[in-house]
Amino acid sequence: MAAPRAGWRPVTLLALAGLLALGLPACAPRPDVLTFSGSVVGGEGEIVRRQIARFQAAHPGVRVEVRVTPDSADTRHQLYVQWLSAWAPDPDVLQLDVIWTPEFAAAGWILPIDLPPEAAADFFPATLAANRWRGRLYAVPWFVDVGMLYWRTDLMPAAPGTFTELDAAARGAIDRGVPYGLVWQGARYEGLVTVFVEYLAGTGGRILDDDGTVVVDAPAAVRALAIMCDEVRDGIVPGAALAWQEEQTRFAFQNGRAAMMRNWPYAAALMRDPSGSAVAGRFGVAPMPHGAGTSGAALGGAQLAVNARSRQPDLARELVRFLTAPAQMLERAEIAGQFPARRRVYDEARLAAALPIAPADARRIIEHAVPRPATPLYTQLSGLLQIQLHRALTGQASPAEALSAAADGMRRAIADAGLDEAAR
């Protein structure tokens, strides 16, 4: 008797456990659980938890689960594409990088979100433009990142406004013994494209025009790249910077080895701390200089979108609207120092204490923000452009050769994807 019972009891238990494990999620009705995926490390996690708690308090019976995803943009992108292309219904709400929205929208992975006109008018125009695909808005800007010029107030009387002034200021600083006139992110990665986008705005060039046609080999664009190449050739920007990303440029500027730096707002907060910074209290922030065009700031930052397969799209949209409301943006700025995407928040007195630079300056820079091309092929086009920019900067090709090679590759990629003849 004992033997058979000892034999089947564990089997039964296992089978039961298996049934429970398989059956429970399927039959338990959980209509009001939303999943949210985004950056939840450090201060950002605190903000998200607080704000979600308030959302739940305002919506009794609704629970929001936070799905932790990697903070590295490339890894998160891969993960999202795997989930969404498999039509997973969760996460319901996704934090997107500014360059992914057209890709996900064109693929049909995220739902359009319409804003009431007064809200739409409140957002910085560039942040909305970056999140539109074929005329409709697919993601709501959450916070803004912009490229700007950091300059040493003890080395020059005012921030340079034009490329010519930048050149003179850099040479002046080098004559006074500062090793580098200017540092920017010159490694072959996405950051290089953001720098290029700012020089492009300065010369009046673009990567794609409004119709999606490649114009990166036009004379204005060649001029932009030629200015960057000259800066390297003349020793204003060190050759070492051609292998640098954000942090290496910050170290150089923070240690007093560079007179100017192009970087994102995060650097300001870190460099204001005198214990680790040799330039605390001796630097200012200004819009990027320009030539024949206008000053431009590459637009970065995060947006929120709703999964097209979400089981509760309306509730998910509700969460997006809540998280992108002015009160939440102000709180985010106060805790994490991230720039609000709505202009109205810049009138709040509390914002001045929260941001690393004066809100009026921040607003002035963001008004000049230029989005990167809105195309589902962005990653591929950017990859092609990065290679050619880097070839020109490292002297392997002239600016004109490099950009014409980049333009050829981009045109081929767009034709291969059938986007050139797609209905629009």
Binding site: G108, P238, G239, A243, Q380, T394
Partner: protein, 308 residues
Amino acid sequence: MSTPAGPPNGTNPAGALAAREARLAWRLMLPALVVLAFVAVVPLGATVWESLHRHDLRLPWTGRPFVGLANYVTAAADTRVRTALGHTLGFTAVSVALELVLGLALALGLDALARGRGLARVVVLLPWALPTVVAALVWRFMFDSESGIVNAIAASVAPALAIDWLAHPWAAWVPVVLGDVWKTTPFVALLLLAGLQAIDASLYEAARLDGASAWRRFAHITLPLLRPAIVVALIFRTLDAFRVFDLVYVLTGGGPGTATEVLSLTAFTALLQDLRFGYGSALSVIVFAVSFGLALVYVRAIGARTGR
């Protein structure tokens, strides 16, 4: 032992035994073959099948149509792929040659050690034990033109020697090749050391009695008898070097431009960055086919040497 009793019908008993042994051998190998089929043949087949499709995750509206060899045609016409193939072959030739020469020298040194051989072997193996990504990061820091130790030393010798290593299309290969040689020479040395220790010491004694010089003993005893170990080391290193990825990915990312881009990196970009699964699979199959071809050449070489 007496001969086993053969079947009474007059067939060759030794042949029957061999056949039975062969059947047993197949049966014993079957589980291993099944596992191999699942972990190697099936994924490989799936990759080949995928490479015959146009499959772009970013463009779901294009579907996944069968396109035959179109991806291979695109790859063959792509200068980026051809350049990367050239880089990969050049990197393989240079780094494996250096590893072989240095590894042989190291093995001879270790073999000649009278005492402390065990300790020396452990010390020599240390670079091999370090994860490649960590080693590659350290090499990148050392070759950073602003704060790296290489330029600090170079500048103290002659300021002209301090160059922007990672921004120069040729100089960027130096840390890549050095990193690979530093990391894998110990592996070659240990393989060759095992080969050296298998050589009968009496051969050397006889040669010495006949008055052969150290060079003649090396050229006529050591090298020929070490040949099988050398070929094994070459197979391992060539295949590994041809598929190099992590070292280049971390150290230069394939830059400046695409000056140090190797084939695995091109495939990685197509697959995981551009999400072009069909095309990326085709590139992966090309990497596989070339390294498999190289392996066949080596296996032939061993066969020719051992007279089979």
